[in-house]
């Protein structure tokens, strides 16, 4: 009886909230996922296997995964730097800069793609000078990484920022007094603190990059085997009214992303545990 009361006090409306959560998750996530599995099941095992190991599909996976990985990695570096600057320094325009971070989310992705392509094509403002150095951005994998870096920046900044805000500068001062170099302080004090958040941000950015379609198709050039992303393969199969194969490609992407996210979450949980000890 007492247990029941305690339960009631701590979690008001436990039954109701759990029921609602479960139906919500089923409706919004689970049922659509299951429908993907069912759609691709129409192909049969052989058809499924043939679809997903097709060299062109494999090439598109490679482009998607490598470019998302590169973009997430780049953002790990610059995102942390940005978060650091926003948290630790006071300068005019800081609030505006802070507000700008979310902009990549608010912009329709097609607009992002068209704007970046115009900027980075070899006739564009930034792409022109770069092209003279022999560096082509738009219509190459570099363009895809560029677009994904733009789209996924907020994830890293917004996950790392609150952690940095909580971090007491006292520890850094202590390190400095003990004669540690700036690099040492970052490695031994700051990095362990922000690692769990950074990993979460990295995972979010990576997953978002995998699924990104709208902006990438404008800047990628979409050449088979070179700059064709997996979501485009899915779209092109849908365009042929080939629902089974499209969902098969999607399913492999889903499975792979799930495994990667699971791995990241496991590492992240370890890292979080390490900090608490």
């Amino acid at each position: 009886m007492q247990h029941h009361q305690a339960n009631k006090r701590n979690i008001p409306g436990f039954g109701l909230s759990l029921g609602l959560t479960l139906s919500y998750v089923s409706l919004v996530v689970l049922i659509p996922m299951v429908s993907i599995v069912i759609q691709s099941a129409n192909l049969g095992w052989l058809g499924f296997w043939k679809t997903v190991i097709d060299p062109r599909v494999m090439a598109s996976y490679r482009v998607s995964f490598l470019c998302s990985l590169a973009a997430a990695a780049i953002n790990c570096f610059f995102g942390v730097m940005l978060a650091w600057v926003l948290v630790r320094y006071r300068f005019p325009g800081r609030r505006i800069m802070d507000g700008l971070i979310e902009l990549p989310f608010a912009l329709p992705t097609a607009v992002t793609g068209i704007a970046l392509t115009a900027l980075y094509s070899d006739k564009g403002w930034l792409g022109g000078p770069l092209a003279q150095w022999g560096l082509k951005v738009a219509y190459t994998p570099a363009g895809i990484v560029m677009a994904l870096t733009f789209i996924t920046l907020p994830f890293i900044v917004r996950t790392v920022q609150p952690v940095l805000e909580q971090l007491d500068p006292v520890y850094e001062d202590a390190g400095r007094l003990l004669g540690a170099s700036g690099g040492r302080i970052f490695r031994s004090i700051i990095l362990p603190e922000i690692t769990p958040a950074l990993l979460t941000g990295f995972g979010l950015a990576f997953a978002r990059g995998l699924g990104e379609y709208g902006s990438v198709v404008f800047i990628a050039g979409n050449m088979p085997y070179k700059t064709e992303i997996a979501p485009l393969m899915i779209f092109s199969k849908l365009q042929q009214f080939n629902y089974g194969e499209a969902t098969a490609v999607a399913l492999v992407m889903l499975g792979a992303s799930f495994l990667i996210m699971l791995a990241i979450n496991t590492i992240q949980a370890r890292a979080a545990g390490y900090v608490k000890e």
Partner: protein, 339 residues
Amino acid sequence: MKKILALSLGLAAFIGVALAGSLQAAELEITNVSYDPTRELYDSYNKAFQKYWKGAKGQEVTIVQSHGGSGKQARAVIEGNEADVVTLALAYDITEIEKAGLIKPGWQKEFPSNSSPYTSTIVFLVRKGNPKALKDWGDLAKDGVGIITPNPKTSGGARWNYLAALAWADKQYKGDQKAVKDFITKVFKNVLVLDTGARGSTNTFVQNGQGDVLLAWENEAYLAIKEKPGEYEIITPSLSILAEPPVAIVDEVVAKRGTQELATEYLKYLYSDDGQRIAGKNYYRPSNPEIAKEFANVFDLKVNLVNIDDPLFGGWDKVQAEHFNDGGVFDQIYTPPAK
């Protein structure tokens, strides 16, 4: 509990009102689901039709206009986007809607000229002065020519581009299949960017300055010239394809919404002199030859045009299976890079 009850009652009432509102509005409303490049055409056509209907029947009509990639639009209709009429890029896409049971077979005989009130063709848009001297399809296979075209797998318009090149090559090489395939392969090796849709390609060529030639619908090419006069030229090749973007009534939807008469009149009016002229003004070739003659100074009416039902192609189903489906001739152009 009471709160929840009140909330759900409120919600139900709200949904009810919204539903009733939409039902009322639906009385004289039709939805036209179309593809991308017809935006400007239907903008002016819808206004003209509304005026015509007001004059003839004294009623106000609302026309909901939707644009997107042709295949995507067809899928949306199949999946329940209630279109009274579809005006798409390819008969193939409308046939897919027919297969889903929403349109009765034989729709392509319902209106004149294969149910295509206007036609178009594929032309070359080149930069001013035509620096690479591209005159005909053969020039596109030369080394160092940069071509911009959308991807035939994702864009209805791009399939016409591909077929136009194919038709020319078939005539040029007198049906030698290997030579034809080599030619098509060479042309597509010269393609720099494969955008997913026609508008994307126009953007790549016009705004981002990529490539020497854009393979485009005649109407898209004229729009680009209108937007930036003096920067481009249109080259009409010796032979091209007769692109017939068809129209159809979605029988299931009009039966349900009771819009049969309105939808029929809406499509019929496209064939009136007025409708035909609107098509011509928007750079679509009117299917009525008399009206087409009025636009002789715009269109090269002498170009040799091949129809999709020509024995060379044998209709959309055959072409789609042979060339554009996965593993088809188009896919064979792109082989994995040598390791």
